[in-house]
């Protein structure tokens, strides 16, 4: 099979995530490329949670609507997802928990006496997931050896019992088909949040500070796990207000810090964002989007904060906003964001969403682009230190406490070159212009990089314009339909020239966004980049390839 998808579902607390990660690792051993879509409600026990593990011969970054395997640990899973079954799909289920009624005609139903096995082995309820993974492997012709290897690596607790349960699930049924191993190198499997974290670490991150908030909490957990290995200081303080102010304290002392949050937490950070701009203290903010307004749908996805992050904070000041589209870009642009924040002493925002943050990807370091720690514009030590020395580029040389015979003053008030408060009209104007000048030089530097990517059929008349996590699904749909894809990875400063070049010759420009208004479409309109139609989705769910393909087909006749 060139590609196939497995859906595993149950209640929260059934270990669906763990099971899907084990299935992904198994398929990775067969050298398939993997993507996992995770869908779960905002609760700890109960509800309905599921993952779609998609495997393909080619690298992928999105899921499909239809599935080839349905692993149902409860009735809800079957009821909610039987419309995804195809003619040839396999249904593996626990007959004590699931009644397989009203299925598509040719569905192959395979009961596995999971509950019975669990009782006989006196195992805990959660091991039902191990049992069904065992059965899945047998049904798909995956060898016991591969399953055993992956389980031993992935499961720390009660491994012997888990192996026994998996073996019984494996032995309970017959092979239905054979997934052939592929002849290519396998790749690591990472969440978008982890790739992003690695990029920050590579570019010299010293500390990560965050208050838990979906979908960015994964970075906090990842950084906390990595803290000892990489010598990071990882702190979870009392609020997002404290988070960003603490980060500015770290920056003042010369330590590269990043923070992570979602819309609500970013609201609290706004005063700190504006302060960072005035004080010229570098900070990187990971802004993971989810549907709002307000609490909205905490565990679902959206692209609704583009306007917010570009406009947040009182006053006028330069900032960088990057929106990576997949794991490799998350790695590369996070490193870039950290370097640029420090070089220009500005806030840099990494705009992600639940789809990218918590989606699971194969990560190819070799194609990600080099992430490295760039040198800082340090003070040469001559003459007295002036924290806000006015320069041609607007960038003042950096020095950090403690610096012998130097006084380093930063200030949230308007200030003179030494950082002393002022209300003088001429100095106010000079300093405001100095800060804004950094944007001009930043744009000049950024223009050396490829900020607007073009994919698909490059000479096509019809093109998709998208941003962030829609990259993967748009490229796949475009390849099916023969379209071009234009994707800006940097959204502020808006790379106007590269954008205009990328859409030159396009007659039918379609924006694809996970919001209700088309925020990117509106952002680029004043620069003469007009979209002809908008494919928008604001139900908290990402596009699947099939869904997007269908919607686009109607627009490209």
């Amino acid at each position: 099979m060139k590609e196939f998808s497995i859906l595993i579902g149950g209640k929260a607390g059934f270990g669906i995530d763990k099971a899907s990660s084990i299935i992904a690792r198994i398929l990775n051993q067969l050298n398939y490329r993997i993507y996992i879509y995770r869908d779960y409600p905002s609760l700890i026990r109960g509800g309905h949670t599921f993952s779609i593990i998609r495997a393909s011969t080619d690298k992928i970054a999105t899921h499909r609507e239809k599935i080839d395997f349905l692993l149902a640990l409860n009735q809800d899973t079957l009821n909610f997802h039987k419309n995804r079954l195809k003619d040839s799909s396999l249904l593996l289920y626990d007959p004590e928990a699931v009644k397989p009624d009203n299925l598509p005609a040719n569905t192959k139903t395979i009961p596995v006496s999971i509950s019975k096995i669990i009782k006989e082995e006196s195992a805990s309820e959660i091991m039902r997931n191990t049992c069904i993974v065992g059965s899945f492997c047998k049904s798909a012709g995956v060898t016991w050896e591969i399953l055993e290897t992956v389980l031993k690596k992935a499961i720390g607790k009660d491994i012997d019992l888990n192996l026994k349960i998996a073996r019984r699930g494996f032995d309970a049924i017959n092979e239905q088909l054979k997934i052939e191993p592929l002849n290519q190198q396998n790749l690591p499997i990472l969440a978008g949040n982890e790739a992003l974290g690695l990029g920050l670490i590579k570019a010299g991150l010293g500390s990560y500070i965050a208050y838990p908030m979906t979908p960015s909490s994964g970075i906090l957990h990842f950084m906390a796990d990595m803290a000892e290995d990489f010598g990071l200081t990882v702190i979870h303080p009392e609020s997002e207000i404290s988070v960003i102010l603490m980060a500015l304290g770290f920056a003042y002392a010369g330590e590269k810090a990043a923070v992570g949050t979602s819309g609500g937490g970013f609201c609290l950070m706004n005063e700190g964002l504006s302060f960072a701009a005035m004080a010229e203290l570098p900070v990187v903010i990971v802004m993971g989007q989810r549907p709002g307004p307000s609490t909205g749908l905490p565990t679902y996805t959206s692209q609704t904060e583009l306007n917010f992050v570009i406009n947040a904070g009182q006053g006028e000041f330069p900032r960088l906003v990057v929106a990576p589209g997949d794991a490799e870009e998350a790695y590369y642009w996070s490193a870039m964001a950290l370097n640029i924040a420090w070089k220009y002493q500005i806030p840099a925002i990494i705009l992600t969403d639940k789809t990218l943050a918590e989606g699971i990807y194969n990560f190819d370091l070799s194609s990600a682009g080099e992430a490295k720690e760039e040198p800082l514009p340090l003070w040469n030590g001559n003459a007295g230190y002036k924290r806000y020395l006015v320069s041609e580029t607007g960038v003042s040389p950096l020095a950090f406490v403690p610096k012998k015979d130097s006084v380093i003053k930063i200030n949230s008030y308007e200030h003179d070159e030494s950082g002393i408060t002022t209300e003088d009209a001429a100095i106010t104007k000079t300093m405001q212009e100095k800060r804004l000048r950094k944007k001009e030089y930043l744009m000049q530097e950024l223009d050396k990089y490829s900020l607007v990517k073009v994919y698909g059929k490059k000479e096509a008349d019809s093109a998709i314009i998208c941003w962030g996590s829609n990259k993967g699904v748009c490229i796949e749909a475009a390849e099916i339909l023969g379209l071009k894809v234009v994707m800006p990875a940097v959204l502020w400063p808006l790379p106007v020239k590269q954008l205009q070049d990328a859409v030159r010759g396009v007659k039918n420009l379609i924006c694809v966004e996970n919001n209700a208004t088309g925020q990117l479409a509106e952002l680029i309109k004043p620069y003469g980049v007009n979209v002809n139609s908008r494919v928008l989705k604001c139900d908290g769910r990402p596009f699947s390839v099939d869904e997007l393909e269908k919607k686009l087909r109607n627009l490209i006749k």
Binding site: P188, Y252, A279, N411
Partner: protein, 282 residues
Amino acid sequence: MSEINLNTYAQNTWCPGCGNFAILNAIKTVLKSLAEEGLPMENVVLVSGIGCHAKIVDYINANSFYSIHGRVVPPAEGIKLSNPNLKVIGFAGDGDAYGEGIEHLIFAAKRNIDITMIIHNNRVYGLTTGQYTPTSPLGFKGRSTPQGVREAPINPLEVMLSSGATFLARGTSHGIEGLKKIFKEAIAHKGFSLVDVLQVCVTYFNMYEYYDKKVYELQGHNSADYNAALAKIREWDYNNDAPIALGVLYKKEAPTFEERFLKPKVSTDRQAKINQFLKEAM
């Protein structure tokens, strides 16, 4: 060793008779004496919020972080965590520390992070021209409460004691010698220290006469005894007409946040470790 120059060219804009002058002069004396004892001045970082108090950092030629309203504590913590060798001294007003930023103060006390907070507690908003603060007495007539404030004040030292602060003291802006002594002890204390300074605002809430009648120096007080400290802290609740104790009310040795938290920074080959991580994620 020549005396260090702590003056700046910034023009002082406090009202004549402002209690902030006493805090400024006391802290300058303390910094000079610390320098004479060998503390490198570059290791000192002053942090302030927004309000009349905050201008103090413009008036001292030392490293400073002029923060925003209510946010003195978090950057002070970040600076300390980044480099535990730094002496981090925060200045905040009562509106700043006990109002907008009280969550940070409570958490800093809870962590026992080794920073010093000096609160310019004049019990009125000065820079915004005379509104009540968290420590204004019940019935205080401010510009936002012309009929008199309808809520009782908090006792900030009691809040701090119950939050885990390990050094608590009170001084007044009429007692500069006392302030020098307390500030020095607070800065020397290893752990979270807070000095509540009854700093008089001559323009909007002139309490000099009242305080002069009510204050007394603590004598024979066992500052290591939590219950004795609590009793002394509760003697005057910032509202009743009770005697007001000055001096060190509570002092306790306890592990600090940075000691419990920070490990020596490791310098590693990050690429090698990333490669290893990726290998394990196959």
